[in-house]
């Protein structure tokens, strides 16, 4: 998958969980919880949606590595087999 594919997948799952957010609202460096106001349940739902869609298991200790869109793209790229 290219960076653009991963980015698209994250944005689709993110806006499915939080439909108040438009994909164009999401800056690469925006903190998903602090800036986009996802709460911890949203975040857990996002982790499980990404797991389902991309087959990537994201352990709890890695959550800070997907704290922004840019971080998440980079992290998932290394984890997708």
């Amino acid at each position: 998958m290219t960076d653009a594919d991963i980015r698209k997948a994250i944005l689709e799952e993110l806006t499915q969980i939080a439909p108040d957010i438009a994909p164009s609202d999401v800056g690469d460096g925006d903190h998903l919880q602090d800036d986009l106001e996802l709460d911890s349940m949203d975040f857990l739902n996002l982790v499980s949606a990404l797991h389902k869609r991309l087959g990537v298991d994201i352990p709890e200790t890695d959550y800070p590595k997907i704290a922004t869109l840019a971080l998440a793209v980079a992290y998932l790229k290394t984890r997708i087999g």
């Binding site: 996802l38 709460d39 911890s40 349940m41 200790t61």
Partner: protein, 580 residues
């Protein structure tokens, strides 16, 4: 599975603040002796929390160790906190505000929030914290009910959630903000104002019965209720901090609750400061490794957290904790909803001490029932009433109260009169009166008491939803949903969730001309999140042609929930129109 009782050893019992002897001899007058009172008479929470410690020579002790989300740290001594609170009180006074004015705070866990809370109380005004993740509607409705005169917030929160309706709230005189200054034409920048203000202020001579705090809580019907608490509540904050949380002067203490909720004020500001501990304030949201690192690196001795957070730690497994040293932890407690027995025992395995669950509500102002340091723990139980508290399990029928037998499920009730009991629901005398029947305060929680005297939570007696420890009123969510043009009717229920306890699910019936679709489902969820905020908005929406209703037209949420969970439908004799 039956969980074995966790026994305490003699050394642990002897070291506890609350021993059997203290328990046997306690009266509320003993708790009053833990306080100083204002010099010359009167009682003020801010004085008990901060100023008296400075006067007694503890000004150099750290009151707040603030850990910013970007890695900044700031130590604020009791003397510095006293000065900041005085500056905040002076800012309010300079803007012509008088004792009795209502000050609302809407901000994250930044140092100014603590100065604002204490400065407001010092100035004899009433403090109301709001959760910063609320959407504009819950903020507005609470400020309208509370007739807020002052709002302390950030530029970003103001722009997004307050500016659009600010002019419609006639009571609002002053908005103080932190941040980039982009709203300078309509708001006053807080930091420069505090920097200019004098760092001393004569504490307003409040009495024990003067209003100090308004905490909002949700009702099943109608608008949120503003529970009024008085300065005299500090007697209970002092005693319960000491007894239920085992706080000792000088302890390093971390309460993870946000001051936007009652726990984060009673036990995240007042009780710990009154007991002269050093509070850890973590600005950031939940983060597994950050939390473990704080417990270890800051040498936290007493930790007060919540089941949702504990369950998130548990999800990561014990291995995630094994490289940390938690040997400083002496006492750990949990509140918000019952902690599963697994969680209690997990505390024992990972932290070397079980979680001590306790129970209280916005209305009770402080912890009422608790597993205390000297008690054996029955995992899953909320513990026993604290000294000075009489609790019972009652059954109310036609206005008559009957006390239940051990093991019988009834409503958890308390004998009124403890110092932190709410004094009113703001402007809602009838709703307040309904809480008191036959000499008892009725909590709305169903529970039972076992033969050993331990209390066990069973469920809510009403339709309120407990999600991540926060009470959510279905009416408030339904009201926001029916503002959407597609929605004719809405019903909200809580459905069980492994992490949050319950999550909010909505059933909606559409107006003519609208058809159910995935796009509409998303649009409605987005609409609700924008108005209510993520913590309150439904996570799931299902469409129905019709919602089940009684003859009088009341939607039967209980029936929707029973069906959702596959439980017996119970009495449906009043059902007029069924779900379709």
């Amino acid at each position: 599975m039956k969980w074995p009782i966790i026994r305490k050893d003699d050394a642990t019992r002897a070291a506890a603040n609350l021993t059997q002897t203290v328990r046997a001899e306690f009266g509320w007058d003993d708790a009053r002796k833990l306080l100083d009172g204002l010099p010359g008479g009167g009682l003020n929470i801010a004085h008990e929390a901060v100023d008296r410690h400075v006067a007694a020579g503890h000004g150099d002790q750290i009151a707040i160790r603030w850990l910013g989300k970007d890695g900044d740290r700031r130590d604020i001594t009791y003397a510095a906190l006293a000065a900041d609170a005085a500056r905040f009180a002076n800012v309010l006074a300079e803007h012509g505000l008088q004792p009795g004015a209502r000050v609302f705070a809407l901000m994250g866990r930044v140092p100014e929030l603590y100065a604002a809370a204490l400065g407001t109380l010092k100035a004899g005004m009433t403090f109301t914290p709001l959760f910063a993740a609320f959407g504009p509607e819950p903020i507005r409705s609470r400020m309208e009910i509370g007739e807020g005169n002052v709002l302390v917030t950030t530029d970003a929160l103001y722009r997004k959630k307050v500016a659009p309706w600010r002019d419609e709230l006639a009571s609002l005189k002053l908005v103080l903000t932190l941040g980039d200054g982009a709203v300078a034409d309509t708001c006053v920048a807080l930091r420069p104002a505090m920097a200019r203000a004098a760092d001393s202020f004569d504490t307003v001579r409040t009495t024990a019965e003067d209003m100090a705090l308004i905490h909002f809580t949700s009702g099943t019907t109608g608008k949120p209720k503003g529970a009024v608490h008085v300065h005299g509540a500090v007697v209970a904050h002092a005693a319960t901090g000491r007894f239920a949380l085992d706080l000792k002067p000088g302890d390093i203490y971390w309460c993870t609750a946000d001051p936007g909720w009652v726990t984060g004020t009673s036990y995240g500001i007042i009780a710990p400061l009154v007991n002269r501990v050093t509070m850890i304030v973590n600005e950031a949201e939940f983060d597994l490794e950050r939390w473990y690192a704080i417990l270890q690196d800051e040498g936290v001795q007493v930790w007060y957290t919540a089941p949702t957070a504990i369950r998130m730690l548990m999800r990561a497994g014990k291995d995630a904790a094994k490289n940390y040293d938690f040997s400083k932890l002496r006492f750990i407690a949990s509140v918000g909803e019952p902690l599963n027995p697994e969680g209690v025992v997990w505390g024992q395995d990972v932290f070397g001490t079980p979680f001590h669950d306790n129970w209280w509500q916005t209305e009770t102002g402080g912890i009422m029932i608790a597993n205390t340091a000297d008690m054996d723990i029955y995992p899953g139980s909320m513990g026993k009433p604290l000294p000075g508290i009489e609790a019972g399990i009652v059954s109310v029928q036609d206005g008559t109260v009957r006390e239940c037998k051990p093991g019988e499920i009834g409503e958890l009730a308390l004998r009124p009169g403890w110092p932190s009991m709410m004094r009113a629901y703001l402007n809602e005398q009838a709703r307040f009166d309904k809480c008191f029947v036959g000499g008892w305060y009725l909590s709305g929680d169903l529970a039972l008491q076992d033969k050993d005297g331990y209390f066990w939570f069973v469920g809510r007696a009403d339709d309120l939803i407990k999600s991540s420890g926060h009470l959510i009123g279905p009416f408030e969510v339904e009201s926001a949903l029916i503002e959407h043009e597609a929605i004719a009717e809405a019903a909200i229920i809580g459905i069980p969730d492994d992490t949050a306890g319950e999550v909010v699910k909505a059933y909606v019936a559409l107006n003519p001309g609208f058809e159910p679709s995935e796009t509409l489902e998303r649009e409605i969820r987005g609409f609700a999140r924008k108005r209510l905020g993520a913590a309150v908005a439904p996570r799931e929406i299902v469409f129905r042609k019709e919602l089940p209703k009684t003859r009088s037209g009341k939607i039967m949420r209980r029936l929707l929930k029973a069906r959702e969970l596959g439980l017996p439908e119970g009495d449906i004799s009043t059902l007029e129109a069924d779900e379709k």
